[in-house]
Structure formats: structure tokens, C-alpha cells
Symmetry: C2
Subunit: 123 residues, 2 copies
């Protein structure tokens, strides 16, 4: 029952925390393998699922793509992806706006939002 602190878990969490953008499983695997070369994919998935369950990390779902992961507590934000250079930028300040879209008598509990277009540099 006790939560154990393994090198694998530290490596996965470390990779996520050191990255300024959300990471996919392949990214996590190759970064974490610098610290733990024998790390397997299955273990990464199991660690991610444990961390998700304990709400230490959060998933970022871009439509039609494999999920990305980032540490919890980075605040509520969404992402803008540049269609040309694929960079991801954070966007904040959506809550007041979205409340207006909710039909009356409905309770809005959460939302997902994803913007895409051209970034500053590519414009």
C-alpha cells in the first residue's frame, strides 16, 4: 500500500518537471532513460497512471493526438499550437468567457480548449 520512491518514478517526474512544455510518452521515455537506461515503456505508462490518479500530473489532450503530460499545479491554462512551427504556447484567462456559453440551468464543471494558428515568429 505504501508509496515507494523508485529511481524510475523520480526519472519520470524529473523529466516532466524540468520541461517547460508538456511531454509525450516517447519524450518522457528518452529523457528518463538518461537517468535509468533500462526503463521500459510499460513502466512509464504505469508511473504516469499512478501519478494521474494521485493528481500529481495532468494530461494535455490535443485533438487527434496522443496525450501529453505535465506536472499538476502549473495553473489553469490552455495551449496554442502554431501550425507552421508546431510550437506550443500557453494561454490563460478563459473561465469568465466560457461561463457565458453554458446554457442556463446547466452546471459547467470543466472544459477543454485548444487553439491553433500562426505564432508571432511565423506570422
Amino acid at each position: 500500500m505504501a508509496e515507494r520512491n523508485t529511481r524510475q518514478k523520480q526519472a519520470v517526474l524529473g523529466a516532466l518537471k524540468e520541461s517547460s512544455t508538456p511531454l509525450g510518452v516517447a519524450d518522457i521515455l528518452s529523457i528518463a532513460r538518461e537517468a535509468v537506461p533500462t526503463l521500459s515503456q510499460a513502466t512509464v505508462y504505469r508511473i504516469l497512471n499512478r501519478l494521474l490518479k494521485k493528481r500529481k500530473i495532468v494530461t494535455v489532450q490535443l485533438p487527434g493526438e496522443a496525450p501529453l503530460y505535465e506536472p499538476a499545479g502549473r495553473g489553469h491554462h490552455h495551449f496554442f499550437r502554431c501550425r507552421r512551427c508546431q510550437s506550443m504556447y500557453e494561454v490563460a484567462g478563459c473561465d469568465e468567457l466560457l461561463g457565458r456559453l453554458t446554457p442556463s440551468n446547466f452546471t459547467l464543471e470543466g472544459h477543454d480548449l485548444f487553439l491553433y494558428g500562426l505564432c508571432d515568429s511565423c506570422n
Copy 2:
């Protein structure tokens, strides 16, 4: 090169057009098989991909779920899913709001939005 009009394609498009909500592949398959019992999954996927390429239909991506499909031209809208009864409701009128979230010097070309919470009846 010419576009052919097969029973399979008619059945798939028919299923989508007769439904008031977006459908998943399994739904499409079972509805369209009423008209074409031998219809295979692979064919459904191929038809959907052709229709997507020709922009006759559109995908609805709910985070972490298999994609749904609906005919193009139903207008720009997003979905609200009730967490209790799983019903999907349409939501419109987001564009003016989202422009405000875009950083200056960025060009917003599109977005995806998904709301969830409790619907009228479940509230």
C-alpha cells in the same frame, strides 16, 4: 479518379445525416449495416477518410475518446457533455470570446472546445 456512388457510401452518409448527434464508428457500422449487411469496418474507415478529405463530414474529438463524425455544414458549434447521463448538447457562439485569448501578433486560425458538467435534467 471519378467519385463513385456505392451503396456502402450512401449507407454511411445516410447514417450520419439522419443522426442529430455525432456518431462513432461502431454506431455508424451498426446503423449502416441495416442497409448493407455485409459492410465491413475497414470500409467504414475508408469511406469516412474519403469524406473527410472532401470535407463532406467533420470529426468531433472528445478528449481521450475515439473520434465522432458528423456531416459538414451543421455550422460552427461545440459540445457540452453531461457527466451523469452522457448526453451531448450543442453550444454555439464562441468566436468573439476566443479572439480575446489569442496573444497579440498571433493569428488564430481555429480552435477546439469541449464543455462538461451537469445538464438541465440531471441538475
